[in-house]
Symmetry: C2
Amino acid sequence: MTTAKRDTYTPETLLTVAVRVFNERGYDGTSMEHLSQAAGISKSSIYHHVASKEELLRRAVSRALDALFETLDEPGAVEGRAIDRVEYVTRRTVEVLMAELPYVTLLLRVRGNTTTERWALERRREFDQRVSELMRAAADAGDLRADVDDRLATRLLFGMVNSLVEWYRPHPGAAQEEEERLAGTVVRLAFDGLRTHR
Amino acid sequence: MTTAKRDTYTPETLLTVAVRVFNERGYDGTSMEHLSQAAGISKSSIYHHVASKEELLRRAVSRALDALFETLDEPGAVEGRAIDRVEYVTRRTVEVLMAELPYVTLLLRVRGNTTTERWALERRREFDQRVSELMRAAADAGDLRADVDDRLATRLLFGMVNSLVEWYRPHPGAAQEEEERLAGTVVRLAFDGLRTHR
């Protein structure tokens, strides 16, 4: 008899454990044995829920990607001036990052060694491309600076946004207010810069 | 007899190989055996040059840290208005990142598992703190927006700057012109934002 606890996991709660371990050890450095130890259930119990480690990765990065892509279909992202739509998507990206922190963190660390990782990288590029096109439209309308290539601008914008995963840690309690304040700060800096305009 | 080539390394050229392997495999995932294979010399030959894997890490991150800290003592960083000094340091940080790409990449990926890694993290915080103080001075002078906490602004600024290590790859040839153009773009976006000011 092992001391493994009774398997009360759902695919969803098992995913929470797996994402934590993936972020701690790296996806490549995580074995089913590690997941079994972290979850406190046997490997065969894990295989009862999912077919493979890669399936857990796919579910995890899908959760982040779905949340990000959904923002592109929200009214704020499809109606109105392009500049306002870029700004809306930026704000929502920050909010998704904070709300789905472990999942987005994992997505941003994906390397490309497996089919699932290459698919995730491809989807990320697609998302960046969609935002890049919005940037182009805003620049064409004269609202975004035209002296910066829109792909480069998108990269630098997401460089700033994505860097939040390195240090942002939610404080239980004041979460929503804090998230809104931080998202607002990122948007102000990205769109209006650090300098005062007098 | 092994097929190991004759040891013609200097500590400096050995460092180049080590940094490449650290960035590919991660520092934790790299053994002296990996370094020996990558360099094509025996482990004992490596120990002829350095005392340990950790010494190689220390030399590598020191190279990045020294280059970054040196910018803080350059005339552009110590003379004139605080806003111009922050802008100068931002531009120079981008230039150092591009010129010392593998070393800065390694520095930014340091985790904190060993004494050397914790020392490197401490030095990085010290650098951020120095820039943060310049930001405060520029905000006090009315040149930087006062509605954003200077530590948060520093984090977001370096989030944008440091994201370059994820995708910037130098093109042999047009290197210097390209570096200057990119550094200029980062500074413009960071200080004046994406939006046109009409």
